[in-house]
Each structure stands twice: as structure tokens, then as C-alpha cells.
Amino acid sequence: MSVNDGQMIASRAARRMRWVGGWLLVLLLLPPLAAAAPLAERQVLENGLTLLVASRRALPIVTINVTVQAGSLWEPEGQAGLANLAALLLTRGTMTRTAAQIDEEVDFIGASLSSSAGRDSSEVDLTLLKKDLPKGLELLADVLLHPAFDEAEIGRKVREIRAALRKRQEDPGEVASEAFNELVFGSHPYGRPLEGTDASLSAITRDAIMRFYRDHYTPERSIITVVGDVEPKEIAQQLRALLKSWPKGKSTGERAGDPKPMQEKPVVKKIDRSVTQANIFLGHQGIRRDNPDFYAVTVMNYILGGGGFSSRLVERIREEKGWAYDIHSYFYPGLERGAFQVGLQTKNETAGAAVGEVLRELRQIRDQGVTDQELADAKAYLTGSFPLRLDTNRKLAGLISTVEYYKIGLDYADRYPKLIEAVTKEEVLRVARAYLWPDRYVLVVVADQAKVALPE
């Protein structure tokens, strides 16, 4: 599940906010005369599994997404990388199929089947032709219910991850990002590499992987979203038949909570590399997905640095100064307070000046807010581009899973434009002041430090 879609989330809290908004907003909550259809048909199976189906019958293809409460937030202390390993190993052999057999069977029907972990959740994705659904569903059920976690496959995967961690050191952007997260979140799961470290990988045993799987890959912690050329009743029957033997879990599902609050002063970390460009991240902790200010933050960040060529940061740093090809700001709202970060790359010599400009923009939007025109333009983009967020099966499946996982409500397509339209200039100013901290940030600069002069 992507944590980085900075436009996506409503929440129970947001609904509450509208109730206090007075009669006008209450009226908006009444069902309109022609209520648009929910994003998907929803049902909960006997074992607690949530099933969401959206029929899209234009092409004979189907996309299935399984989202499970099994992200790194649920990793026990000292076991960084466990969630990632468990997710990746699902497709690496089951009780009745070797990894090579799974690969061959998936490829033979021209399908794709993959599994991955995130911080907030883990996922299994299957895309295939409708005619191959029976085969595909059988494979999907097998990897979900009967993974083998074979020792040889664990060893293979761990070696791969170690090599990938090492290769990542070649990428100055990755180096900067890793250091940034660590300084912003400390030992919290948001602060460490999803893949773990050399040391933590050594500490992970097969038993730990099995336990993690047993505790977290359970039906009541899982959502299955099906989008494509299917009939809802029929696909529900098929899935029920395949997954009814999936037993409910017994785990308490305890997970990491809020990250520790940050320090009160700026923290600067310089990492010296022989590169032509400085890779810079500046930011701090941001907001949770269920923060009622989510929509105002979305609008504010669009104007600051989320809106590409319509954003102030691109205008200043790229268009006016010619200092960077890429500059952006993101909020990563998650189950917990994800990061706010500004990222850019600029030649070593302009790194200091660029950081100065970024800080100036943060202060500016906090001091003076935004103009009526900026606000109107941001709203027009965010509401007007909504259809582009569900124009393929894959995008739609992703959105439905997110909406369900974060309990946003399947009427999201109806409510989103209203929530964005309701954001005022005053709210934008308020959230800029609340959630941008130009005096207590983390700054990471990976660069040829001899050529870099950072501002005081």
C-alpha cells in the first residue's frame, strides 16, 4: 500500500469535523438525490476477511490486491526486516509448490504475482486475464495460506537483500533518504530501512518468520480487492471456497505507536561522497492519515511543493534559479505520523543557497499563507484530477484498498471534492504553522562536502 499518495485520505476524524461545520455541511452529508455508486461492493466473510469487488468489464482482465496488517509497524524489537522477509517469501514456495514452480505457473498464464511489505501494511498483487482466473486464484490462495518458508529460500532471500542494501549505497538519494528517516524517527519502524540491516537480518530466524506470518497473515487482518471483468457474486463464491479454511488469528496484533517527538533544534547531517550533485532532504515528522487536517495539509503542500510546476518550490528553485531538475515536498501520512520532507538535487556548489531558499519558502507560507488564486488553483487540480486516479484497474484497486484499510469510506469519490472545496485560506495558514517547522528540522546533505557551503 502506498503511503505516499499525499492526496488520498479522509478519516473518521474528518467526518467529525464536518459535523461541527454547521447546517450547511450537515446538509451536504444527506444522500444526494442521485447518489454516485460506492467504489466497490463490500462484504465480510465468515472468517472475518473483507472482500471488495468493482466490476469493470471493458477488457477481459482482472486485478487483485490483498492488503494485510503486516507491515514493519508490527515487527518485534530488534527484528528489522522481518515483515519484508515474510512478505517476499510468500511467493518463494508453498507446501505443494517450489518457488520455481510458482514462477513457471504464473508466467505460463502471462500473469504477474508479487508480494511486498510496507511500513503500514503488506500486499500481494495478482494481475491476469479473466480466462485464467481459476488458476490464478488457486495460486493466490496457495501463497497466502500455505507458504513453506523453506530454509534454503530464506538464505537466498537474505543474501539478495544484503546485496541490495549494499548496492543502494551507490545511489546518493537512497543514502540521504535512509539517514533522514533515521534522524526523524529514531528506532521507530518509520526510521529504519524496511529491509533491515546486516545485523538485524542475522538475528531473524525461520521460527520468527513463521510466527510473524501466523500472527499477522490472518483473514480478519486482510482485505481482498478485486477489480475487472468479474461478477461480484461469482467471484465472492470462488474466493469463499478457496479461503474458507483460512483460520482466524489469535494474536493481539500489537504494534509500534507514535514515533518519539523530535528534538527542538535543527539537526544537520553531512555525508561526504564523490558525487557531482548534492542530494538534499529537509523535513521532520508530519501527520497521521486520520488527522482531521489532512485535506487542508494536502492543499497547503500542493501549493508549497507537491504541485509540480504549480508549486512555489519548483517556481523558485527550478524555474527562477535553474538550480535543480527535481524539487518537491511530500507528506507521508500513515497509521502513525509519517514524514514531511523536501527533497532536491543540485550541484554541490549551489547546495547551500538552495537550502536557504527552501527554508525561506517554509517561513513565507507560515508567515503569509497563500493567495486566493493559489487556493483556487490547488482545489481545481485536486478535485478535477480525481478521475485520473481511478482510470485503470490497477489504480482503482489501489485506491479501494487504501480507502478500506484506512477506514475512509467507500463513498470517497463523492466526498473527496467536497472536503477539498471546504478548505479555507485560514485553514491553510493554520496547518502551515502547525505542520511546517523551519526551526526544528532534520537536514541531510549527501555531497562532495568540500564544495558545499551550508547556510548558518
Binding site: P60, V106, E160, R166, S274, Y381, P387
Partner: protein, 456 residues
Amino acid sequence: MVAGAMRHRMQDVMRRTIAAAWVMLFLVLAQGIADAQVTTRVKESILDNGLKVLLLEEHKAPVVTVNVWYRVGARNEQPGTTGLSHFLEHMMFKGTSKVGPGQFSKIVQKNGGRDNAFTSDDFTGYFETFASDRFELALELEADRIRGLLLDPKEVESEKKVIMEERRTRTEDDPVSALREVMEAVAFQVHPYRQPVIGWMSDLEGLRREDLVRHYNTYYLPNNAMLIVVGDFKSDELLPKIQRVFGAIPRGPEPPKVRAEEPEQHGERRLVLKKVAELPFVFMGYHVPDLKHPDNFALEVLAYILSGGKSARVYKSLVYEKQLALFAGGGYDRESIDPNLFSFYASVMPGKTAEEVERAMTAEIERLKSDLIPNRELEKAKNQIEAGFLLGQDSVFNLARQLAEYEIVAGWRTWEAYLPGIRAVKAEDLQRVAKTYLTPDNQTVAVLIPTKKEKR
């Protein structure tokens, strides 16, 4: 080998295409495939000024993508002024007499649209994607910049800096793409495919406004462009509007043809690149024909046999079984105006050597020549291609891109020959093309040798 006279081969292929179209029709009827061929629904018109218009209605989602592609890319550039096409792509957003610098994307976004552009060896493409109730704005914007660009000297200088930053990010500080760049510069000695699309850094420094003006006036003409609209609209209503908006733009002189031909390679070429990196990397490239040659279908199937999914030979052998590579694969650059490369890549695992990886890769290539591909494996590759063909139609943007690429290379109707051509491939064809093209004398091997870090 392939570097024959283009005109000649084109005619040859035209006949083949017509024959293939009949075969296709037969196959479609015989197999009762639901309308797999998008091309039957494409409506082509050519305006009086030479602008080719392709319209494809897709009503499955309320979105429309508008694409304008120009038949110009790095292929049309000269030594000393490489990067010109890509530079011009950037400048297309920097102002006409009607739309001020930087306004293009802002207008698109405030109407809820998304836009971008890309430059390749063969083409420069621009697109805007909108909800279907407002996409016609994109027509006005694109028509305006076909001939209306200002190329303001101040903007040129500022954008040049941005592009140099782009090059630093993409190439200078990324050892693998730096390796790819020098590999192509060695594999091609005569043809401009040896030049990087973004341009050599020293060329970028020297590019002047006059170069851009000349390039713009030579290639940005309606008779050297095409307009492709895919999505939720009505062709009958749209075409008159297109005629009104684009029709008055005057035709220009036909741009010069690229006459360079890469001569046949007689003997292996080998190079090393030493750069600060963690792990060695290997590229191997072979000159092969493009899709205008009848062997293209066998080469395409071969690419899937070698690199289509985790059961494919390169991944299975080098990554999974031998654990020589962290990741590895290959690809066939089929949609290319002039003959291009069939290439392999592998990231070497820690503790292994580039030589071991190269030997294992070569062993896989030799196995193609000595042993016929088993039936099930051939069938698997064909299934993957057929499934990919359908899955790729989920996105209107992807459909537009496919049509445009075919049109640029050999005419969009060539796409019709794809599936029939793939279906007709036999195991013997795969063996033959492997023996013909994947030979030691036709190969270029490039190896990244990590140097010791001076810094940490």
C-alpha cells in the same frame, strides 16, 4: 546483419504487413478472440498541412489523453550539438506569445489535468491527460506551441542549467546509467544512436539559442508531427474541432532524412568503466533488426524466453539458481526506427565476478543455439505476450503511446501484425535468430569496475 537500405526494406515489410493482416483476420475468426485488435477502431485522418491525426475512442473511464509527437530525437542530432531535441522539449514549456513561460503546466493543472513530455532516440512526445469534460483545452495549447515558441534567451540559459542538473542526476552520479551510455557509444560507431538522448555534458554547455531555433524550425512542423487522442470522446464531434484548431498551421519543408547507417560489426567490442560504485555491472549488446524486419517476432519471443518473468532463463539461472547476479535480464529494442540492440544486463552479487556473470550469460545464449526451445516454454512466452497485449490496454495513455511508437517507426497499422507474427514463431526460428544475431563477433561487452571510494 541489418544495416541495409531503409527504403528498400520498408517496401518489403509493407507487403509482409498486408499478408500478415490477412493471417491475423483468419486467426481472429478461427480463434474467436474478443476484439483484441485495437487498431480496427483507430480513425486516421491527415490534415491538409500534413498533420496526421489518430483518434481512438475508449469509453471505459471518463478520461482523455491528448498526445502530440514529433518525428525528431537524438537520432536527428549531430556531434557537438547532442541533447538538442531534449533541450527543445524542455523549452516547449517556456513560453509562446500566447502562453507565458511556465504557464503551460499551470493551465493544465488548474483544469485538473496532468502533462509531461519525453524525448527518445527517435521521437519527442508531449501529453496531457484530463477528465473527459475538459480535455479540448489541450488541443489549443498543443496547436499554439507547434509554431509559436519564443525561445527567450534568458529562459534558454536558465533551462540549460536545469538540464545539466538532470544529467547529473540521471547519468553522472548513477554508475549503471553511465555504463549504459558508454556501452551505446561503443556499440554504435556511425549511427547517431551512439549519442545519449540527454546529450554529452560538454555539448550541453555549448548549446545556443540559435541551435534551438534551427532545430525547432526544421522539425516542429505539422507535417512532421502527429496528434493522437485516446479516451472518452466522440470522434465525429472532435475531428472538426481538430481541423479548426490545427488546420491553419502552415506546412513546412520536409525535414532532412537521417542517412547514417551502422555498418555490420566484425568482432567483439569490449570496454570498462571505472567509477565509484559498490558492485560490478555487466551489459552485453548485440545489433539486431527493428520491427520492420521479419525476424522481429522471433527476437521478441526470444526476449521473453530469456527475460520474461522469474521463470525466464536469465533470471532463473543467474539470479535464482547460481546467485551470481542480484538482478539480471535482457531486452529487445524492437520499436526503433533504425536497427538497435538486443541487450543483456546483470548486477554482480558480492563475492562474484563480472567474468563469472558474463560466462553464465554466454552459456544461456549458447544453449539457445544448441538446443531447441521446448514446446511448453515457447507457449509460455507467447502466452505472456498475448496477456501483456491485453493488460497493456487498461491505460489510455499506454494505448496512445503504443500507437505513437508504431506510427513513428513503421506506421501504426504495423501493430496489427504483432500478435499474428508472434503466434507464427516456431522453436526453429528462435534457434536461427540466436545463431544469426547473438554471436561473439556482433557483441559489445561493457563492464563497470567499482573503484575504491575516496570518501565515506
